[in-house]
């Protein structure tokens, strides 16, 4: 393990290591070059790898996501950055109609070893068009893989896994977690996609968190412990492939589950996880699988309201209690 690194730097370091290791890995995005990224997430990469491998693009998401796909089909292993997750919409045709399907359509002749990374999440008063996370949308498309790390160590190890995967992987980075610091792994510490992680063991309820919600779940678990409730916290980490076995095992241990999703509840990832759990472990359930998500509306700019958009530890505690009370 190397020393404490920020989430932001952990991804940057992972990318640098992968670019060192494999000359086919290139970085494409807006302001990723000399500017070092709008969130300083690619600092130093341009100086180290030069303009042929670190490419600044015009504001043309559809175009440069499509170009990255073509480059992947022609032998490169591109990492494309879409500045805000909200702008994935601009490249969605390329992602859904091309990248996700090429391997299948070509009968396996072409692969798309592509990583699309994007900064998402509520916070910093960035407003309704700069705060969304479409992980459910892309997880819904066969052919895509979707990853959502919660902390620096996972960010690094999962990013490396994403780069080494031969499929298109959408990598979500909660930008409000960019400053979080923790020890991270070395160059060959590569995670496996499709694995969740138990962050805290418990026996009364499983709090299943996606991204930032995991940290909030840990906070809630501490408070529940004060009331004699033993909450397990599971970090989803990979939405597609989903660790059905791991999540089911957690449910068998605790008999209750509350899914925490940093996106609107309706038609979200929480719905998929809840449905899957009740299918795989119905007889183990002592209560319906609960879901907490973001408010069902555009994210307000006003800080006083923005604060209310995501469930906080208090709401999670409340949600857990309601399920335990049944």
């Amino acid at each position: 393990m190397t020393g404490a690194t920020t989430f932001r730097d952990a991804v940057r370091d992972a990318l640098a290591e992968e670019m060192d290791r494999d000359p086919r890995v290139i970085l494409i995005g807006e302001d990723v070059g000399p500017a070092g990224g709008v969130f300083q997430q690619t600092q130093g990469l341009y100086d180290r790898f030069g303009p042929v491998r670190v490419i600044d693009t015009p504001i043309s998401e559809a175009g440069f996501v499509g170009i990255a796909i073509g480059a992947a089909m022609a032998g490169m292993r591109p990492v494309v950055e879409v500045m805000f997750g909200d702008f994935l919409t601009l490249g969605l045709d390329q992602i859904v109609n091309q990248a996700a399907k090429v391997h299948w359509m070509s009968g396996g002749q072409f692969r798309v070893p592509l990583v699309i990374r994007s900064a998402v999440g509520v916070g910093g008063a960035t407003g309704p068009q700069h705060s969304q996370s479409f992980h459910a949308w892309v997880a819904h498309v066969p052919g895509l893989k979707v990853v959502y790390p919660s902390g620096p160590a996972d960010a690094k190890a999962l990013f490396k896994a994403a780069v080494r995967d031969d499929n298109p992987v959408i990598f979500f980075e909660d930008r409000m977690s960019y400053g979080a610091k923790a020890p991270v792994g070395g160059p060959e510490d590569v995670a496996r996609l499709g694995e969740s992680a138990v962050r805290r063991q418990g026996s009364d309820i499983a709090l299943i968190g996606i991204g930032r919600m995991t940290a909030l779940a840990l906070e809630a678990a501490d408070r529940l412990a004060d009331d004699g409730i033993s909450a397990e916290v599971v970090d989803v980490r990979s939405l597609r492939p989903l660790d059905v076995e791991g999540l089911t095992a957690a449910l068998r241990r605790t008999h209750r589950a509350l899914v925490l999703d940093p996106a609107p509840r309706a038609y979200g990832a929480g719905a998929e996880i809840a449905a899957t759990l009740q299918e795989s472990a119905f007889d183990w359930l002592d209560a319906p699988v609960g879901r907490l998500g973001m408010s069902e509306g555009p994210v307000p700019f006003a800080p006083a309201l923005e604060r209310l958009v995501l469930p906080d530890a208090t709401r999670i505690v409340q949600g857990a209690r309601e399920l335990i009370g049944r």
Partner: protein, 341 residues
């Protein structure tokens, strides 16, 4: 040449924008507003000249850099500041913030933060104006970067094809940076030596104008808007404005201090150093002041105008501060037309 009295009034409107933006920067520095924001400093002449050419029924569509457009079009100053500060008394009831200032009552129905949108939205408004036989204009404001977005080009195609009454105003504040990424943050990345070649390719009447020269800009825009309203088809105007030095970094920076009329009045020595040209030549407020003084307007009059504007801004800021923050119930009620789904 503009009449002195008219030019003075236009200059005053520019000054209102300048002092407003300086106030926004101060509010941010003092933590009274949060979030990212973009200021219109250096581009005031363009916004003011365009609005002077419009009639009440016309509509404007702006970008993240919208404060100047909002004010010049007649947006309430206190409501603008309140919105930027996230208050329920803001023009968007605190839902959007700096990036999305809008007010349907002044013909500014919606402001998108996604580049290229303004062209598409303006086109839509123009389509409806044309169907209604209204002699009106829809204005799309955007920067030089927006032409990198495919949807902006698709909008040019539609506007030209259907002869829609659209005025495309491209405020190019990356002068000298077109053609390749050239230092500063950020430059335009366009594979064309002349940005105007793009609208020309769609058969659209195109002009490249000095975005800081009120005397030439205002009459030119009046003529253009009159012809558009009369059904002459869309027009594309590239308004060139030198980039304000405070826009070099990620956040607006009032490094050389607020506007000082003394620089125009000759009572304060001009700064030297790398940003000297801003004070001698580029600042449209100083340029306008110098021209007015040369035309016989007194220093005292300009100073008086400034004082009044500064007071107006301060009063607006106070009013904005008194506004309550919006409630969750208010936000939820706005999600769907007709109340909650």
């Amino acid at each position: 040449m503009l009449e002195s009295s008219e030019k003075t009034e236009l200059w005053r409107q520019m000054l209102r924008i300048r002092r407003f933006e300086e106030q926004v920067i101060a509010l941010h520095a003092e933590g009274e507003m949060v979030g990212h924001f973009h200021v219109y400093i250096g581009q005031e002449a363009t916004g003011v000249a365009v609005m002077a050419a419009l009639t009440p029924g016309d509509m404007i569509f702006s970008t993240h850099r919208n404060h100047g457009h909002y004010l010049a079009r007649g947006g309430d100053m206190a409501a603008g500041l309140a919105e930027i500060m996230g208050r329920a008394t803001g023009c968007n009831r605190g839902m959007g913030g700096s990036v999305h200032l809008a007010d349907p009552t002044i013909g500014m129905p919606h402001t998108s933060g996604v580049l290229g949108s303004s062209a598409a939205l303006a086109m839509g408004a123009a389509f409806q104006m044309q169907r209604q036989g209204a002699r009106r204009v829809a204005v799309a404001f955007f920067g030089d970067g927006a032409l990198e977005e495919g949807v902006a080009l698709e909008a040019l195609n539609f506007a030209s094809l259907w002869k829609l009454p659209v005025l495309f105003i491209c405020e190019n504040n990356s002068e000298g940076a077109i053609g390749a990424a050239k230092g500063g943050y950020p430059g335009s990345i366009m594979g064309t030596e002349r940005l105007t070649a793009l609208p020309e390719a769609f058969g659209i009447e195109t002009h490249a104008l000095d975005g800081t020269a009120l005397d030439t800009l205002t009459p030119a825009l009046r003529d253009i808007c009159a012809r558009i309203a009369a059904g002459g088809g869309p027009v594309f105007v590239e308004a060139n404005t030198p980039r304000w030095f405070g826009n070099q970094g990620l956040w607006p920076d009032l490094a050389c201090g607020p506007l000082d009329l003394g620089h125009a009045q000759g009572t304060v020595p001009l700064p030297d150093g790398p940003d000297a040209a801003w004070f001698t030549t580029h600042d449209p407020l100083l340029r306008g002041a110098r021209e007015l003084l040369a035309a016989g307007v007194s220093q005292a009059e300009l100073t008086a105008i400034d004082r009044a504007v500064v007071e107006e801004v301060a009063a607006a800021a106070d009013e904005a501060r008194r506004g309550p923050f919006p409630t969750e119930a208010e936000a939820r009620a706005l999600v769907f037309a007709g109340g909650e789904a």
